[in-house]
Symmetry: C2
DNA sequence: ATACATAGTTGTACCAAGTACATGTTCGGT
DNA sequence: ACCGAACATGTACTTGGTACAACTATGTAT
């Protein structure tokens, strides 16, 4: 792991600069009330540069912190080999949520203030569950069933997430997730 | 049911005019390659009028045909009173899909050509499942469990929908839906 | 028939997001 | 010290979406 050159470091720096400025402004006045021009002015960077780093305004909120993907991949890799898929999913989703709790709260709060962010939110979710699907697919033969499992897990998590109020402590969210995942795993046919 | 006045009829007429022009152009050249200006020119109507009728470009594809909501409400109302929620959901989702098969295909095809439509698609879904949730909530006491049921059903349907290729006959889609809903209902805990 | 309120339409002018591109700067290796 | 590549910038443009004041057609009461 050699030190990255000046170029790389500067790049990362401007990236952070832009992101920091944007999040600060969003925090102060809300997502919609802040224009890209204001962001780049605050970050001391040109408009074009902004679009060099982020494909759009939402991306500044939802783009992957470069480390985050490593994290969840590590969680997945840590699951024991014979474990049933559903249990692995439950465990990973809970751990991951717990570990990134702070960001979960921030994003949720921002989303509540402005529906334009729902799209970025969805994209992010899709990327995440896409990886989950790939991982799960490698564990089993039945592709449809596997996809279904991941999607149902996602639906369970979403149900918990929507019910949770973002001023409640994170433990409440985790409990809701546990409950929803357990019920989904147990099946819903019988009333 | 009295005949609506000239005003109403003209309104509906322009609505259809815009929609028809738009869909024709979209069909010829794809969603993204057609601008609103072209649509209004083709429809013989002003830009402003377009936005009087549709809140945005996607809406022209996904906005509710005024009759459609009635349809699904009728389906829900037709379910016998004691029926378990999960069975009702399964039945309604299958019937509704079967009944609107043609539009399902068109929309899916358009969505495949341009991802910008995914958002409108999602909105539409949300409205639909929102109503489903309300209906289901009226049948039971446990709000969380009910929401979870609807969301899981939605996830099952989506799984089927995504797997389905839109050049396959609709029966394939229906079979996939049946399979996914059945599995979700049976539970996924055991591997 | 006439006159009036109002729903619906139009044109204009505007803002913000996003793209294209040609022109500078700055870094990395030689 | 130099040169190519990567990165940044400014300019100009397209397009989606909003605001608003002025105009026109429709419904209705007289």
């Amino acid at each position: 792991m050699t030190t990255p050159g000046l170029r790389e470091r500067k790049k990362l720096a401007t990236w952070r600069e832009i992101r920091a400025a944007a999040l600060r402004l969003f925090g102060e006045r809300g997502f919609d009330a802040v224009s890209i021009d204001e962001i780049v002015a605050a970050a001391g960077v040109s408009r074009t540069t902004f679009f060099n780093y982020f494909p759009g305004k939402e991306a500044v909120v939802f783009d992957p912190d470069p480390e985050e993907p490593e994290q969840w991949r590590a969680l997945l890799a840590a699951r024991p080999d014979g474990e049933p898929v559903w249990e692995s999913l439950t465990a990973v989703l809970l751990e991951y949520t717990e570990r990134t709790a702070d960001r979960v709260i921030v994003r949720r709060r921002l989303r509540d203030t402005s529906p334009a962010l729902a799209q970025g939110m969805a994209d992010r979710r899709d990327r995440f569950y896409g990886e989950l699907r790939e991982w799960a697919a490698a564990r089993t033969g039945d592709a449809l069933r596997t996809t279904l499992q991941v999607n149902l897990a996602a639906a369970a998590v979403m149900t918990a997430y929507e019910r949770w109020q973002c001023d409640e402590p994170v433990e409440v969210l985790l409990d809701l997730m546990r409950a929803c995942l357990a019920q989904a795993g147990a099946g819903l046919r019988e009333d």
